[in-house]
């Protein structure tokens, strides 16, 4: 029996969070999200295109009654910008959660941890439930928790890279040392990556490109749902110890002469 998965006082059904970017069509996105079983979906804040304002927004395709809309601050590279985007997102009126990103480098999209800590402090004080996207550094994760983060989101590998879980040890250590939930965000490429990540004992995973850029996003969403469930179940079941020598599974007695 698993424990409920709660962040900032809100309990979620699925441990798989999914993004809504980069799908080939909204229709494919909707089917993939349904197949993933996710109840949390991330969205970005951007200017309304004034020349085609009558076009459907993303909310036309995602029922806010059914999905928990988690706004991000993707694209922000300073604490000030991220705070501004978070406040605009909250004003949309769905919730006071934000997936906080402060990007420090355009090639790797790795976080600027100084800016991230500053923005976390300001937004947490302002009543936000901050889910802070960070690297897999324990000390930063601890500081984010002290700064008031509702959850810490270490990366598996860089955003959109699909390189999988590069540092299971660090992610496991962060989970062991933090009190707030740990949701791995970014870098998962395929089902085995998701399973291995959940086996580290983290509370959940957020992914986007792994679904959107799969040949069949709906099929991959189904695979990810199973992988997250499998990894979680394996973690709860407790894996056997690793040994450097073989141990026979069949009896040694009763062998023929």
């Amino acid at each position: 029996m698993d424990v409920p998965f709660t962040i900032g006082g809100h309990t979620f059904q699925s441990r798989l969070f999914v993004g809504t970017g980069k799908y080939r069509s909204n229709e494919e996105m909707v089917r993939a999200i349904a197949a993933s079983g996710a109840d949390v979906v991330t969205v970005a804040v951007r200017r309304v295109p004034l020349d085609r304002a009558r076009e459907d927004g993303i909310l036309h395709h995602l029922d806010p009654q059914r999905f928990f809309l988690l706004a991000n601050t993707a694209g922000c590279s300073t604490a000030e910008d991220a705070i501004r985007y978070a406040r605009l997102a909250r004003e949309a009126g769905f919730n006071d959660f934000v997936k906080l990103e402060v990007i420090g480098d355009q090639e790797t999209l790795l976080p600027d941890v100084a800016g991230l800590l500053e923005a976390t402090r300001v937004l947490a004080r302002d009543g936000f439930k901050v889910l802070a996207y960070t690297n897999e550094d324990l000390i930063t994760a601890l500081r984010l928790e002290e700064a008031g983060a509702a959850a810490v989101m270490p990366l598996a590998s860089p955003i959109g890279s699909g390189l999988g879980l590069l540092n299971p040890f660090s992610v496991r250590t962060i989970k062991r040392r933090l009190t707030v939930p740990v949701v791995v965000d970014a870098g998962v490429g395929t089902a085995s990556d998701a399973c291995l990540t959940m086996e580290q004992g983290v509370d959940g995973i957020l992914m986007n490109t792994a679904l959107a850029a799969a040949r069949d996003p709906v099929g991959m969403a189904r695979a990810m749902r199973l992988a997250v469930d499998a990894g979680r179940a394996a973690f709860l079941a407790g894996r056997m110890p690793r040994r450097e020598v073989a141990v026979p599974s069949s009896p040694l007695e009763g062998m023929l002469d």
């Binding site: 993004g19 970017g21 991330t42 200017r47």
Partner: protein, 67 residues
């Protein structure tokens, strides 16, 4: 007419226009747009009181797909 900046573009609007008038002229539903006026967020009920002045900067944002 006066000139204001809307989402980084120069636009002419009638004198005494409110933010709600601006949204209407752009065919935008105030329920799905968040409005920032000179860096201050303007709540929906205040949109019809807030009048535009020459050189004002307005940002109109909404949610799009993202990760």
């Amino acid at each position: 007419m006066i000139e204001v900046m809307v989402n980084g573009e120069r636009r002419a609007v009638p004198v005494d226009s409110t933010l709600l008038d601006l949204l209407g002229s752009l065919h935008l539903d105030p329920r799905v747009v968040v409005v920032e006026h000179n860096r201050q967020i303007v709540r929906r009920p205040a949109l019809e009181q807030m009048r535009l002045a020459p050189g004002d900067a307005v940002e109109l944002v909404h949610f799009v797909g993202g990760g």
